[in-house]
Chain length 583, copies 2
């Protein structure tokens, strides 16, 4: 061992102890006759002191040559510090150094190893191993480990068995794009990396494993949006002999346990709202309910006058923004411009200010009187001093636009508090969604999701109206988990593939093994998957997942540190029976 | 919930309770007026009784239609069983069924779902989801989970942090073949799947994570030998500021913990032997030390007579086989044939029987007198009633042959007891090994392993003699883990690449990021990796890993259940900028 203690554990109780420490030079302050060095490791910082009058001359001189991030080992005595630092656990002591070895020198790092660094995203990613030395990143990784351990303990204590499913599986055209792996031993054939272990966990249920979980990497070859990674981690779970209610209870329990153990927060029973309710009330299937600003539908009190914009609209809908009644004309115009940006896409916005005296002043006073506006206030829940913003147009689009505005205003008003947690379940998702480009229906969750039995009769005639036994767990405006009760009989699964546009041959070629399995005694089953990257980020009070991933890729799917992907040898290509197809 | 209890938990204390159970029909015995059904789930078997006089007629008739592996749900009352079964926890009770629902019918399974099945390997793999219902496979998977949980708990309690390293990395020609993944977004470029997270865990040490572990899938595209899998799982570990001794202690502690927690076995401090000692004493760097039969080198007492075979040999070496003195001529000839098989490759074998009266009878009495043979017995440790077998030839080859014989005889003699555990460390491995085909030296462990400082001076002149700070943990004749202290400075790493035949450009292109990292303050570090598949198999008392993997691949790297790998669409190939290169 290069050390007797780490850099975070010595305190006044260790005074006069002889110790050996090792770590990195965080900084040094050379006062000529006295030299202090902050020695850092994962566990903390301990101050070293080199004193002309008490330290061996060679050691004293060597200390003056230390640069930032040098790796050193020191021996010395724990002594009481003159100027104590109450902010760190080791702040009462320092080490009077007697011996020192430089274990490794260091070039000057390309950015400062501080909580607030001067390095931009790109350079920090290239030197990620230096970035990880910074507390925010290091602590995020330690935090992630803690969350993962708690998840495993909780589920394992409930008799869930973690089973590793294969990474080299079969490509299926359904859903997102697969990453594929050419097989050297099977010419012209490919494995695919799993987008999720979906079929395997279902087969484990057919196999009687009863309760399965796995913290597992999954892969999607998608064009990357910000904060998406081609490889990501799921907490993947499945249970047999359960109904939706059982699954909601188990994983609500898990989430409550995490909030309690990790954050020390007690949360009540999670609200459960339907997809339809979520869309009508928040314009969003992953609503942030830490704040109000619920939608008020105003058709009745907005389409009865001569305002042609509203009269032509399918939906007129508004929100009351608390305390925004004093927004200046400039601020309001700014918000109108904001909703008219192409990313939001509204064509305009109406507003009504709720005065302190109970009267209203709106941008459409020409059309609506105080009685109308009183109704608007009532329906949106606006109070004196609030501002009502109203959008109109096709129902789905308008809801989306108002949702965007609601989230933006909440952010601006500081209502999205990172250390406040408001989980909920959204249930009764539609089974299918229409792809407007192709006119075809797609599975909203995946093709293995079971329709609600009472809606089965609508499959042939009104497929868009069929609800699924599918549910999402939403936390602070993010979907952190989702799942469904699965189909467990061959006939229903075949029917589902048919409605999704598979020919019988296609269904058999891709999922024949699953349908076969259903014939040999498949139990009712269901499950869900949490996105671990997102979950830890939110629990950690962050919106971005990147610092919770040790070695993330950039938006081109590139690891800039190791410079991957990269070209491979021709010999390697030849062995794999492939060649590059340049165009 | 489809059940109030599982099939393993009801006993006499539950008599008269109304319960709901769900599970699979294991078997049914129809006595006409009485019908017993064994209902099975992951947790056990509970007997159901349908009685013409007490059971509703519809239910009674329905019970007669149940086939093996039907999935049913029953309600009923727990009653005392007439014929008790002491062998199972539920053996004192049965359920008098009042209601029954068939949740799913089942085709007759293609093999029996019993501990001893009638299904061969191939059919069991094709229907792996049925195979998993069998206790031996199910229990192996549960056992694996238990081991993995204990590993995580133990390491986490020692402040190890589990960090997920990336799966999409860069291909390196060194070592075994990589599986590669074409990048759609970077034409002509490929990711590789990791053979191990080696460089990443070293970068985590450079990053100050101090103690890292990960239970992680790794990938090697090798021609598969029996019991090898293209994807396998490692317990991957690394520590900073440690010397070899520290690592041996930590992971000896882990293994001792597992043996205690999982098997209830206390193990003393693990023996530590050098690679040289292991090769000389057991002909093998992963010796099974549950039994003796240590090698006795006989050159001194075998090369002084006129026996030309021994005189021409570099090494004459023997083992004493306990109690084999009574082997018949036929048995001995069988063993001689066995060592002459091409897989072993000996050209012949000499034997000497140790008679009860202290005399010897050998196959080379013409050349060696009783005094010589007494020496042989002394050196091999042979006692009355034992048999000495002697091989000769080139030293390394002959040791390998005698090791094969030693293991074969131990197996035949029942000395390799699955429930006896004899772990040890083998240390001081050679740094390099000569590839006889190419005449080039390869890293025996990997190119990041540090040479012993005291051997560094031999690198240029006698590279084969340089020892590494490398070690293996061996358990019952299997290498279950191995690792090394790593190089942590750029100069040594560059030197190593040079000796391994890398040009400077090649080294830089492949491992430049690591050598860069070493310049920014890399701490001394080292680690090891356990093979989890093998570890759980051995702890489970098995020699084969396949039953401890939920969905293993066959020897052609094929998943016969899902039929992967498989062809992919031309459109998919096009997107990936590759085409099939048929010859």
């Amino acid at each position: 061992m290069y050390r007797s203690h780490n850099c975070g554990e010595l305190n006044a109780s260790n005074i006069n102890t002889e110790v050996t420490l090792a770590g990195w030079v965080q900084k040094s302050r050379d006062k000529g006759f006295m030299n202090w060095v902050d020695l850092r490791d994962r566990y903390g910082i301990t101050q070293l002191i080199f004193d002309e009058s008490r330290t061996d001359k060679t050691v004293f001189e060597l200390a003056k040559t230390l640069g930032r991030e040098f790796v050193i080992q020191v021996k010395g005595t724990v002594i009481e510090r003159e100027a104590k630092n109450k902010n760190i656990p080791t702040g009462e002591i320092e080490i009077l150094v007697t011996e020192m070895t430089v274990l490794n020198a260091a070039l000057t790092p390309p950015f400062t190893i501080e909580d607030e660094t001067d390095g931009g995203e790109d350079i920090r990613m290239k030197y990620r191993y230096l970035d990880i030395r910074r507390n925010p990143v290091k602590n995020s990784l330690l935090f992630r480990h803690k969350v993962a351990m708690e998840v495993r303990k909780y589920l394992s204590d409930l008799d869930f068995c973690e089973v590793e499913t294969p990474y080299l599986i079969k490509s299926t055209p359904e859903g997102a794009r697969d990453f594929v792996v050419p097989s050297r031993m099977n010419e012209g054939q490919f494995y695919a990396l799993p987008q999720s272990p979906q079929t395997f966990k279902q087969l484990l249920m057919v196999g009687g494993m009863d309760k399965y979980f796995q913290i597992v990497k999954c892969f999607r070859d998608e064009d990357l949006r910000a904060d998406r990674q081609p490889e990501f981690t799921q907490i993947d779970c499945e249970m047999a002999f359960v109904e939706q209610e059982d699954i909601l209870n188990v994983f609500e329990g898990l989430t409550r346990h995490l909030l309690k153990e990790i954050k020390g927060i007690d949360v009540d029973k999670f609200p459960r709202i339907t997809y339809d309710y979520a869309m009508k009330t928040y314009g969003n299937d992953k609503p942030d309910i830490r704040f109000g600003m619920e939608f008020g539908e105003l058709n009745e009190f907005a389409k009865h006058k001569d305002f042609p914009v509203f009269n032509a609209a399918e939906l007129v809908v508004g929100i009351a923004v608390p305390g925004a009644g004093n927004y200046t004309r400039k601020e309001i115009d700014g918000l109108i411009d904001w909703v008219k940006r192409p990313q939001v896409g509204a064509s305009g916005m109406v507003y009504a200010k709720c005065n302190d005296d109970g009267t209203f002043k709106s941008s459409v006073d020409k059309f609506y009187d105080q009685d109308d506006l009183t109704q608007w206030a009532k329906i949106t829940g606006a109070k004196s001093g609030d501002m009502i913003f109203v959008l109109s147009g096709p129902a789905d689009k308008t809801r989306g636009q108002l949702s965007a505005l609601r989230m933006e205003l909440a952010t601006r008003l500081g209502l999205r508090k990172p250390e406040e947690f408001a989980p909920l379940w959204v249930v009764d998702f539609p089974l299918l969604e229409l792809d407007e480009e192709t006119g075809r229906y797609h599975a909203m969750h995946h093709p293995f999701t079971s329709p609600k039995p009472e809606d089965m009769h609508l499959l042939a005639t009104e497929p868009g109206k069929v609800r699924a036994n599918a549910y999402d767990m939403v936390l602070n405006g993010n979907e952190i988990g989702g799942g469904s009760i699965r189909i467990h009989d061959k006939a229903t699964q075949q029917l589902m593939f048919k409605y999704l546009g598979f020919t019988e041959d296609e269904a058999k070629a891709q999922f024949g093994f699953l349908m076969d399995a259903f014939q040999f005694g498949a139990p009712p089953h269901g499950g869900l998957a949490f996105g671990l990257d997102r979950l830890v980020a939110i629990l950690g009070g962050q919106e971005t997942i990147r610092d919770f991933i040790a070695f993330p890729k950039n938006n081109s799917g590139r690891d800039v540190m190791i410079d991957a992907p990269a070209k491979i040898d021709d010999a390697q290509l030849k062995e794999l029976h492939i060649k590059i197809d340049s165009i």
